[in-house]
């Protein structure tokens, strides 16, 4: 009869932010790279915060191809991990109360990753959004696009295949 009232906004936000934090904060390489995440609902934007360490060609200067590859791979894995956790958390199957990097469910493993370099990476912040194109029981396929000044002008894109964790 009576419809359940929607949860208060701060409860919803805190639960989702805590889930993202558990995914991201436990990974040393993400902080080494200076990568952070913005969340709007279930949409994530990865941010590669510029530092001089990321340079690969000091003469231009340009971002290192390896730094760009790392950024895209981090963006893809976190998107997939968040996708996996989202349903569990929103359906209440998984509580965020004690969710820490140590208590997270097992995450997918990268099988392969192909990076397409479209333009020189400039010495400034970069952004990336990933899309899960296939979410199967065993395999997932994720595409990721990265840009700097202009969302329409990608400087790199990538596709990766991932092995999904065994489900109990």
């Amino acid at each position: 009869m009576a419809r359940t009232r929607p949860e208060p906004v701060h409860i919803v936000k805190e639960r989702r932010d805590r889930t993202l934090a558990a995914l991201v904060q436990g990974v040393p390489y993400i902080s080494t790279m200076g990568i952070s995440f913005d969340r709007r609902g279930d949409e994530l934007t990865a941010v590669l915060n510029y530092s001089d360490m990321l340079i690969g060609n000091p003469l231009l200067p340009a971002l290192h191809g390896g730094a760009t590859a790392s950024f895209l791979e981090v963006a893809a894995i976190i998107e997939l991990g968040f996708h996996i956790l989202w349903d569990e958390i929103e359906n209440g199957r998984l509580s965020t109360e004690n969710l820490t990097p140590e208590t997270l469910p097992r995450m997918p493993k990268t099988i392969d990753f192909t990076v397409d370099y479209l333009r020189t990476g400039l010495p400034r912040d970069a952004y990336a959004r990933a899309r899960v194109n296939r979410f199967g029981r065993r395999y997932a396929s994720v595409h990721v696009e990265a840009w700097q000044d202009n969302r329409q002008k990608l400087f790199a894109q990538a596709t990766g295949h991932f092995l999904m964790p065994e489900r109990p």
């Binding site: 990974v27 040393p28 080494t32 340079i55 290192h64 390896g66 392969d112 990753f113 990076v115």
Partner: protein
């Protein structure tokens, strides 16, 4: 004979320049990469295990992205060391296959071979190993831009 000695000296000088160049790249330096061998389209670059590179805090395994960065650097070095290429290159495309997790604590070594160069593109193959040299951790294929010697 004299010519040979001269060529050897030139090759040694080129290798020394390549080493200084690679080790001066900020990102390679940050990941403590070391150029072990270079010349004639072949390059070997290694990187020590570091807690800063960990991708899975539970197992301590290095993040795939760090292995990609090593492969990219090593591939670029292989291209630059090719006799027909100039020492300027940029990655066009790089595909990495991850065969197994690298053993935590062990140094990772990448070997790249620039096996073909056209007027504008260099093609590479690369593999990465930890202490177990019989089982690669990852393999890569890629295409790089080339400025060819006149």
């Amino acid at each position: 004979m004299a010519d040979n000695t001269n060529t050897d000296a030139q090759a040694a000088a080129a290798a020394r320049n390549a080493r200084q160049f690679i080790e001066a790249i900020p990102f390679s330096k940050a990941l403590q990469m070391r150029l072990d061998e270079v010349g004639d389209g072949l390059a070997v670059i290694s990187m020590p295990y570091s807690p800063a590179l960990v991708g899975d805090p539970v197992t301590g395994v290095i993040h795939g992205g760090a292995v990609s960065a090593l492969m990219d650097t090593c591939s670029g070095a292989a291209v630059m060391s090719h006799p027909q290429a100039l020492s300027v290159t940029a990655t066009l495309d790089l595909r990495i296959d991850y065969m197994r997790p690298a053993t935590p604590g062990e140094r990772i070594t990448a070997r790249a071979h620039c096996y073909h160069v056209t007027r504008s593109v260099a093609f590479i193959r690369a593999e990465a190993f930890d202490a177990d040299e019989a089982r690669p951790v990852a393999a890569a294929t890629g295409a790089f831009t080339v400025a060819r010697k006149a």
